[in-house]
Symmetry: C2
Subunit: 293 residues, 2 copies
């Protein structure tokens, strides 16, 4: 039996496409409508069977949907929420998949009060772009954070929980500000470090060419290949936390600079061991098994 009759997905990229295909492959939805700005990419997603129909008009596509998922970058999601969706009749249940939550929740306050909003963020697949990488199992064994507030109804929250649980995700609830603080450390600062690795190494690319970049550089720079539109919006809407984390980074740089200048082998060794231990604790029960590094 279908969980949803008609789901409208605004932004059919990796996340939107994976939700569409995940719902369709599991027989959980009668129809998925993909909404976006470019008909070519929507048609490509339809051709791959990720969505059933396409629309360039959010208000028209959302009409009659029993769930609206906003899976675009933060800025267009905020813009859409700030429009209030007052032109869409009925009572919409709206959720999102944005990587920062405080700005999205603030914008959701502008929604016409007929509609309900539940903030969400599936923690999955940040370095890939586009619906070509969509995977119906992208969310399996991953965590999805929901950020209910005092104005969130229990029914709306339960319905959005059902969505992510049906896709195999473990759902946790969290204050939106706590979410943004944590994700700054686990995702947004790491992304910026990847960008710094690229920007700092540019002179070596000019001078020596790409043969001097090994597989380690390929790993550390992978995040920097992500969508600049998605990440610009994340950085802008989580900038207070990111600035705070840059202060932590400056402190680390200062400590390591001092350790290096005095050639303190024991301190270098201790820092490297600590970092490796943190990573091993992260990977202990990683999906994909022990062989993954």
């Amino acid at each position: 039996m279908s969980l949803f009759r008609r789901v409208a997905v605004f932004g059919v990229g990796l996340i939107g496409g994976s939700v569409g295909s995940g719902l369709k492959e599991r027989g959980l939805v009668d129809e998925v409508v993909g909404v976006g700005r470019r008909s070519e990419s929507l048609e490509a997603a339809r051709a791959r069977g990720l969505i059933d129909s396409v629309s360039l008009d959010p208000a028209a596509a959302f009409r009659g949907a029993d769930l609206v998922l906003l899976a675009a970058p933060v800025a267009p999601v905020v813009e859409l929420l700030e429009s209030g969706l007052a032109a869409v009749p009925g009572r919409l249940l709206v959720t999102d998949a944005c990587s920062t939550k405080a700005a999205v929740l603030a914008a959701a306050g502008k929604l016409d009060p007929r509609h309900s909003f539940v903030g969400g963020h599936p923690i999955a697949g940040s370095e890939q772009r586009g619906s070509a990488a969509a995977d119906p199992d992208l969310f399996r064994d991953r965590v999805t954070v929901l950020t209910p507030t005092r104005s969130t109804s229990a029914d709306s929250l339960a319905r959005v929980r059902e969505l992510w649980a049906a896709l195999g995700s473990r759902v946790v609830e969290m204050d939106p500000r706590v979410h943004d603080r944590i994700l700054a450390l686990t995702s947004h600062l790491p992304h910026l470090l990847s960008v710094f690795a690229c920007l700092a190494a540019a002179p070596a690319l000019e001078a020596a060419g790409r043969d001097f970049f090994g597989s380690g550089f390929r790993d550390i720079s992978r995040l920097a290949a992500g969508s600049d539109e998605v990440w610009r919006d994340i950085f802008l809407t989580n900038r207070d936390n990111l600035v705070q984390d840059l202060e932590t980074l400056v402190r680390l740089v200062s400590e390591w600079r001092s350790v290096l200048e005095r050639g303190d082998a024991a301190a270098i060794s201790a820092g490297l061991k600590e970092a490796a231990l943190i990573r091993s604790r992260l990977l202990r029960k990683e999906r994909g098994g022990a062989s993954e590094s």
Copy 2:
């Protein structure tokens, strides 16, 4: 026909094991002797066919070798070179595979003048550890840097060139100080950024658990899982360059902090695009094809 009769490999980890198996699989050597500090790991490498015989005594193992490859971390390699190898009879041809070259070349100046030394660094596989990951094709289509000096004979240089070329590597010659400058940007600073990502994120691991770390964090932290012994030595022996690169990092942090604080979307976007462009230039002709990201 064999290229070498007897090759002694000091340090049978990823690099030493890959050279051993690469020479043996191609029929380029009559015997590979593995030399190290722990007989268990040497025996494991012999059991996998990477080497033919094992020794815990460098002087005994090097006797009669027509090539000695030092593939241990920098500190034990420097220590061995500083011993002069005066107790080993005959005229050894010694080369190394260390990731920094200035310190190794300085130590090689202490070698008994009967012996010849050619500094080398195959740029391959830095994030894996141990001979279990050895691959006879590890060096194929990769660059190996050789760092001849005024005291390097043309014959010795040609012989070490033959080694790496036979394993499929492209060989380039470079001043050791230029090598260390470039590798600081392409490998050593990126490694430290990976360490910083782990150290900065530790509070989030405590507070929220590993479910909040996505695949992007797994990529950026992979380098930090490397051997602390190998990397301690690299950092210590390339610390002047690394300190210089930390100054570049501080400048980048300061620029981005200012851009974030004033919410400059255009500048954020430009920086992200620039980093992505640098990465795409690196990967344009990457081994493994266009699908690799």
